[in-house]
């Protein structure tokens, strides 16, 4: 069969060797490195007396446990400080480029990579972080790995992989005003479940996807892992190529024109066969809010909290009961009556300039609700922060009583000082609503930046479509 999917093309292009059982040695074009999943990999290389295969293929940045305030002082948490310093030392020792905490390019690894043109169409990209799927938005094969594979990719520039199956998710038509990339991907996860994509590479297609900017496409691919798929992909088009023109690490001169010609081929062929196809109608997608402790526990803003007794599967019913109890919610409670304590706008899902613009547009001229104790805005990188400040977005947030912070992962996973207290409820633009994710006993509701902003103003969830 000559017709290939985008995933087939990327896979075939990177196979170094295939074993009899189908396991293949895959070449890795780019590895992104951060402080949390790399120290043991470097230590193990050092103990074995091994060198990286090619230092140029790696790029490092600290993001997970950096503070978002008082950057001039040293990191107060000594254990976090040691981890960040260990990354600095390892990069210096092994000759790997790192954007350190004082560099304007520092930021969340999945914001920094595309922003620098360090992750490009057609590449294989890995990082010791499950949200590496983000980079698939540029027509690349990008997936998260564990620390053993960080070490393996450092030492050999290769990983042993078994090819995934192909899943096509087509979102047809157009979304209405106030409905964003985040709502599209949450609706997809609601439809197929958190294990719906397990064993697959998901290609997102359809006009609602191609209508998105690169930032929006990154939001969708970012959460492919929340649907169980290690990799999410979107075909290259003019939007992709325009985005990568003139990025610092993008190809230059004659190489740019060669790359552009090659990248134009990065789409699934007409007639390519997918193992599974799921179609959604974009017009039916409303702003989404998660109510439980798994991203698949999601409903539209005008819905109510589901009732476990309506679920026939015993294991699922038990999960729903656990979730309601942890979240402090009742079945049949209207979503728009749920009051929140905190707002978090940030994370590798939603901290790019477009996300901040969307949130600021909702907030402009309004004030944070008095019942909301803290509303954090954490830009994805120093460059996103700089751009937002140039546009005056920081002033909009600050005037409304929102806090404007330094870049990093922050309260998405609460490894730094930004966290929920026990029982606190948060409208969050991040990607995981697991128990304890944003702080011990914290309760997370995943929403889009516009929805988080609106909830911060109203003090409870509101349908942002009524505001636009």
């Amino acid at each position: 069969m000559s017709e290939k999917t985008l995933y087939d093309k990327l896979w075939d292009d990177h196979v170094v060797h295939t074993e009899e059982d189908g396991a293949a040695l895959i070449y890795i074009d780019r590895q992104l490195i951060h402080e949390v999943t790399s120290p043991q990999a470097f230590e193990s290389l050092r103990l074995a007396g091994r060198e990286p295969w090619n230092t140029q293929r790696n790029l490092a940045v600290a993001d997970h446990n950096v503070p978002t305030t008082n950057r001039k002082q040293q990191i107060p948490d000594p254990i976090a400080r040691l981890q960040v310093e260990t990354l600095d030392k390892n990069c210096a020792e092994f000759g790997i480029t790192e954007f350190d905490i004082d560099d304007v390019r520092q930021g969340i690894v999945h914001v920094m990579g595309p922003e620098q043109g360090a992750t490009l169409p057609g590449m294989t990209i890995v990082c010791g972080d499950s949200h590496t799927s983000t980079h698939g938005a540029s027509g690349a094969l990008a997936f998260g790995i564990g620390t053993s594979e960080v070490e393996l990719a450092l030492a050999t520039q290769c990983l042993t992989q078994k090819k995934s199956k192909n899943l096509l998710i087509k979102v047809n038509g157009s979304v209405g005003a106030g409905v964003t990339a985040k709502d599209i991907v949450l609706a997809i996860i609601g439809e197929i479940g958190t294990a719906g994509g397990t064993g697959y590479a998901i290609e997102f297609a359809g006009s609602a996807i191609t209508d998105l900017s690169m930032e929006g496409r990154m939001t969708v691919c970012n959460m492919a892992i929340e649907a169980g798929a290690r990799a999410g992909l979107i075909a290259v088009d003019e939007t992709t190529i325009d985005y990568y023109r003139d990025r610092p690490y993008s190809p230059k001169g004659e190489h740019w024109f060669m790359a552009e010609r090659e990248w134009q081929k990065l789409h699934s062929d007409d007639g390519a066969v997918f193992d599974k196809v799921v179609e959604l109608n974009a017009a039916e997608i409303k702003p989404q809010v998660t109510w439980g402790t798994s991203p698949e526990m999601v409903v539209a803003i005008d819905a109510v909290v589901p009732c476990p007794t309506d679920e026939f599967d015993a294991v699922k019913q038990q999960s729903m009961n656990n979730a309601l109890s942890y979240m402090g919610l009742e079945a049949n409670q209207p979503i728009n009556e749920i009051k929140i304590d905190k707002v978090f706008i940030g994370s590798c899902t939603n901290s790019r300039i477009e996300d901040l613009r969307a949130a600021a547009a909702v907030i402009k001229g309004k004030k944070k609700s008095e019942t909301v104790s803290l509303a954090l805005v954490v830009p994805g990188s120093g460059l996103v922060k700089q751009q937002a400040e140039k546009e005056g977005l920081d002033k909009v947030f600050i005037a409304a009583g929102f806090e404007w912070r330094e870049p990093g992962c922050s309260m998405c996973l609460a490894m730094n000082a930004d966290k929920l207290l026990e029982g606190e409820r948060c409208a969050s633009t991040s990607n995981r609503n697991f128990e304890g994710r944003q702080g011990y006993g914290g309760r997370t509701h995943l929403v889009s930046p516009a929805m988080a902003a609106a909830a911060g103003i109203a003090g409870h969830f509101v349908d942002v479509r009524e505001w636009v």
Binding site: R50, L120, F143, T147, H255, L413, Y440
Partner: protein, 210 residues
Amino acid sequence: MQAFKKVTAKVMPLDRANVDTDAIIPKQFLKSIRRAGFGPYLFDEWRYEDVGEPEMDCSQRPLKKDFVLNNPDYQGAEILLTRENFGCGSSREHAPWALEDYGFRAVIAPSFADIFFNNCFKNGILPIILEAEVVDSLFKELAAGYQLTIDLEAQTIITPKGETIQFDVDETRKYRLYNGLDDIALTLLQADKIKAYEVERAKRAPWLFT
């Protein structure tokens, strides 16, 4: 890495679906730059009444008595029996490190998240996928002291009644786990192929080789 050949051990039931890696090992413990010592913090939020912090001495911490890890019947278990989509979420290898450090050698579930599944094989843990009905029947059979024998070479699980359950495992993964082999050394045996690939690829995508 510890080789996995044949294990006969007690089974611990964790009757929950979608157990995520944040639950297996909460984020505060990820600040460690070491690979060992995560066992005492395995399932920290479900296991202890208080909030765990890195380097904490866990011997005096108040336990959540209802949690299965604290049930005296299952102490010394090396096989974890659980529900679908185990290990979803973050790619943190600290999750299999914590399971391994606690003493688990195998996890049985109807399905696993891909990254976690892969990470297990790098750490001497055998993740076994069985049909949901078979897992369900094991949950029903399970009682204090219940043991299973897992034989990787034969790809079988033997129950106390003498019943044999077959399981699948990829040949490459099986070979490496059975022999406890180092991935890097094995991959470097292919160094010539990797270099040849680079030469050929540089012609097609020279911008990646500047």
